[in-house]
Symmetry: C2
Amino acid sequence: MKRIKLEVAYDGTNYCGWQIQPKDTTIEGILNEKLGSLLGEEITVIGASRTDSGVHALGNVAVFDTETEIPGERIARALNQRLPDDIVIQSSSEVKDDFHPRYQDTRKTYEYTIYNAEFDNPVTARHHHFVYVPLDAERMRTAARCFLGEHDFLSFSTTGSPTKTTVRTIYECEVRQNGRYITMRVTGNGFLYNMVRMMAGTLISIGRGRKDPEWVRELFLHPKRGKAGPNAPAKGLTLINIHYMDEEKEAD
Amino acid sequence: MKRIKLEVAYDGTNYCGWQIQPKDTTIEGILNEKLGSLLGEEITVIGASRTDSGVHALGNVAVFDTETEIPGERIARALNQRLPDDIVIQSSSEVKDDFHPRYQDTRKTYEYTIYNAEFDNPVTARHHHFVYVPLDAERMRTAARCFLGEHDFLSFSTTGSPTKTTVRTIYECEVRQNGRYITMRVTGNGFLYNMVRMMAGTLISIGRGRKDPEWVRELFLHPKRGKAGPNAPAKGLTLINIHYMDEEKEAD
């Protein structure tokens, strides 16, 4: 028996999110099915991030156990031949049998992309959120800096997240403007349910002038569930990568 | 009667190109149909660039004549409400009744986008061409400079283009690298059928080391139809905009 780690990229448009569902098509469901037919055993993957319906990923992580004799690093190419075009395995490798994608020290990076113009751009519309009200990227940048460090993100979580603590640490939060695109890139040690989309929605409220950049500090000082936002649409969100800090230490 | 000019953006993935077809769905066909139902008259648009199946646009141009009393600049918003999500009118305006989108002094700008990595990126796969062989962007940049100026592009045209001359002028041809994306941006006074895709295919051949950057000069010195290339896939190509030089002069 060996444990294989996959880096999984997908266009989430046509999927009901990561997590397997009885009837709907999900990334997890497709991976189990295609790995099962490739390896000739029943396969159950465990995903690092159970992304929502419509959210995209470049580097989500999944692991599974298998009896196969196919070398770990060969599985990516073989599996890609069976997967639909909108799911692409970026790498596969054998990991220690106690490696669990969710119970480790990780840093996750997400990007949220906004297209800000009078009319939408259909070429990239599947992976940006269109905002026609003019946004002030400089105000958004000022506000983004307030996210850095350790804070209670209760205001940025939606009802019923079953989590012990709502404190998270943000290592990087940048707003970049490239023509009509405004992108928020954020790296943290973990994110509450809908937290990145609530952060993006908060920056949009600030960018359009409805709120001041100082509002972010106020949301941390007087936290209340769902106070931030609004929750920006899923299609603008991409999980860029997940960094496993232990792997990094071992590589040193 | 007035003549209206539209700037048209579309994701070409689900269309059989611009030009109207008896059975297949095309951009021109959809525009005629939706304008007809909006304005209550039979409308026939004339497109500036009859893009191929799968090619995208941010700023293709179409004109049509109408008896409507709706102000020209209002038509964009009204038409967008009827169009599918993958076609978006960027602007509409009244133009002189002798304005013809194809018989004028224009500068067209295209971008050709390549994703260069071991595995494809499904998030942007609808509008890039995936190349897994490593490309040397610096070699491509050197070759791109050879396109500048006036040249006989016969080698970059495919069989049967019914054109008087194959001489065209290129004002800008840049290769930019952004992570795993390599983009060729080219502006010219006109392009032969498949010429931009042949230019992109030529740069790819050079980038992967099959040909030297000097090959471009050789293709100009000893022109022969279809000698360049190969013809890179349609999905990587986007018509960025069409500049009407006369409009610019009038604006001065």
